[in-house]
């Protein structure tokens, strides 16, 4: 091997590529994230199965619980459809979170992330682009499900602002879950495995919760888990906000709620912050490592 002079041939070849100030790096991160959010959302227009999974499945859950099981579930002083719909929002976003894991695992498997890593983009935009796209999708689904809910008799009395706040809380929770699922997707690196890992985690969270039935109807040992796990907390916060303070007070009086709406909202925010604080760094570390 010959040793040549240490001239730097083309260090100046692309001046715009020089390391940039932090401010413009943030702007680039935003641009890269936006480009990848768009890319990920375009997949929904190209793969009809994704749309089916996203919209049809929650509608089926609404119909199932509203018309099949709903008749046997009695909630004191509240129509079951009113109790049900906030739970449906929780169920949608928990099930939907698997798509973050599946999407990232597919990208890892296809090799497109290798291409992204070789580009002068801000690398972490790959994760932000995925969780961001899932946030946008969840927003769309929540809006559609509100309309579906009204169509099947959902009549929330909390007022527009409280309903919007409830939706935002559910969406923030969904965003936090996305980061847990991002870690899962990066670790398993194929779509089937991502689903296999995610579903057993999410299924008990969804059903052993207050989403479809009151926690105080469950056996005592299960209540210990169901009353305090995050899906129950977030669903009851959304329920209290959407149905209004009078209904919430009734629910608390009959033991369906174990705290006030405010209590649930505060607990929800704590869960969301805690999940993000733990799983964003873990996912980022896994991404940098793999």
């Amino acid at each position: 091997m010959t040793t040549t002079a240490t001239g730097h041939v083309a260090a100046e070849a692309r001046p715009e590529a020089a390391e940039v100030a932090d401010g413009s790096k943030l702007a680039w991160a935003a641009r890269d994230t936006a480009a990848l959010v768009k890319r990920n959302l375009l997949h929904y227009t190209r793969v009809p199965q994704l749309l089916v999974f996203t919209f049809v499945q929650p509608i089926m859950f609404v119909l199932l619980f509203r018309y099949v099981f709903g008749g046997t579930i009695q909630i004191p002083n509240v129509a079951y459809v009113d109790y049900l719909m906030p739970g449906i929002f929780g169920q949608i976003v928990v099930f939907g979170a698997t798509s973050t894991a599946i999407g990232l695992a597919e990208d890892m498997g296809s090799g497109i992330i290798e291409r992204f890593r070789s580009l002068p983009m801000v690398r972490l935009s790959v994760l932000a682009g995925r969780t961001g796209a899932d946030f946008v999708r969840n927003t769309g689904v929540v809006v559609v499900m509100l309309i579906v809910g009204v169509a099947v008799g959902f009549r929330p009395k909390g007022g527009a602002i409280a309903i919007a706040a409830a939706c935002l809380l559910v969406l923030a929770f969904a965003f936090a879950l996305s980061w847990i699922m991002a870690l899962v997707g990066l670790k398993v690196a194929n779509a089937e495995a991502a689903q296999a890992v995610a579903f057993p985690m999410l299924f008990p969270l969804t059903f052993a919760s207050a989403a479809f039935v009151p926690v105080n109807s469950m056996p005592g040992w299960l209540q210990v888990f169901a009353a305090h796990q995050p899906v129950t907390v977030v669903v009851n916060a959304a329920r209290g906000l959407m149905l209004g303070p009078e209904v919430a007070a009734d629910l608390e009086r009959y033991g369906v709620f174990n705290t006030s709406t405010t209590g649930y909202v505060l607990q929800s925010v704590a869960w969301i912050v805690a999940i993000l604080a733990v799983f964003v760094p873990l996912a980022v570390r896994q991404f940098n490592r793999s």
Binding site: M1, G7, V9, R14, E19, L42, R46, S110, R117
Partner: protein, 340 residues
Amino acid sequence: MSGSTAPAIELAGVTKRFGDVQALAGVDLQVEPGTVYGLLGPNGAGKTTAVRVLTTIIRPDAGRAEVLGLDVTTHPERVRASIGLAGQYAAVDEQLTGRENLRLVGQLCHQPRAEVVRRADELLERFSLTDAGDRPLKTFSGGMRRRLDLAASLVHRPPVLFLVEPTTGLDPRSRQDLWDLIRELVADGTTLLLTTQYLEEADQLADRIAVIDHGAVIADGTAAELKAQMGATVLEVAFADVATAHSALETVAGVAPGAEVDGIAVRAPVDDGARRAMDVLRALDGAGIDVAGLTIREPSLDDVFLKLTGRRAEEDLDPDAPAVADPRPTADVAAQGGSR
């Protein structure tokens, strides 16, 4: 680019280990600016790991890796702005159209919006994909996909290009088309490092070739120099069975030095194929050994390997591996197949 003598790409003593697998065991190589360098070796030899180090996808355990004089570990962002990566496993998005793929790469390279649009159209035209540009990639043929993949690596006009097995799995016609495109690129002054399992491909495209095995360069030189080591042609005599081949070895080697047994065949590098073939047949006839078949051909990667390592390259060669074979960069997968 200046006419400096500094290499455009340099690896010096680079090592990389995935678990139990020593993917790179001290690789040294230098690529002069504006030239094509072929990295030749079977699957698992370390070719792709070397490219992944140079493209900043993974960090080397030790050694120095530089692109255009920039260390890949200390200036990864500047390196990325100067390189393009395409080939077997740097994928494009199946669900997006050709145009959307190219625009996405343009955006991620931080080009101005007008340039993003213009450059995508320009590349589609240059790679004869204009008509297909608005169709999702999943409708593309293998050859079209590789062309788009190559186009995607050129969006930001990188002065240094890495191609990983650019034509593996393509039919001969598409392979020839892609070779023509690659030659055009090189004529523009791009420095190219390409990995391949095919000696013919390296011979067609590369100015210099390094043969890599078990994570180290075991030979390097021009295609002519490597072939000179091999002899201009390879003479291969097949026999009824392995035992016969072994018993015929001495006779063949007497006429064609360097002969070796390979399965039921004996093969030898020779300078003058036709004449030597007659000599060999005459000698075998004289020794009373029946010949089942006779071939005279250009040396292949397999021959280079047999010559250099004493074993066949095909032992772990898998040309039919799926186009996106296991690039998954998770630690556990990388441990098994870090250099697919």
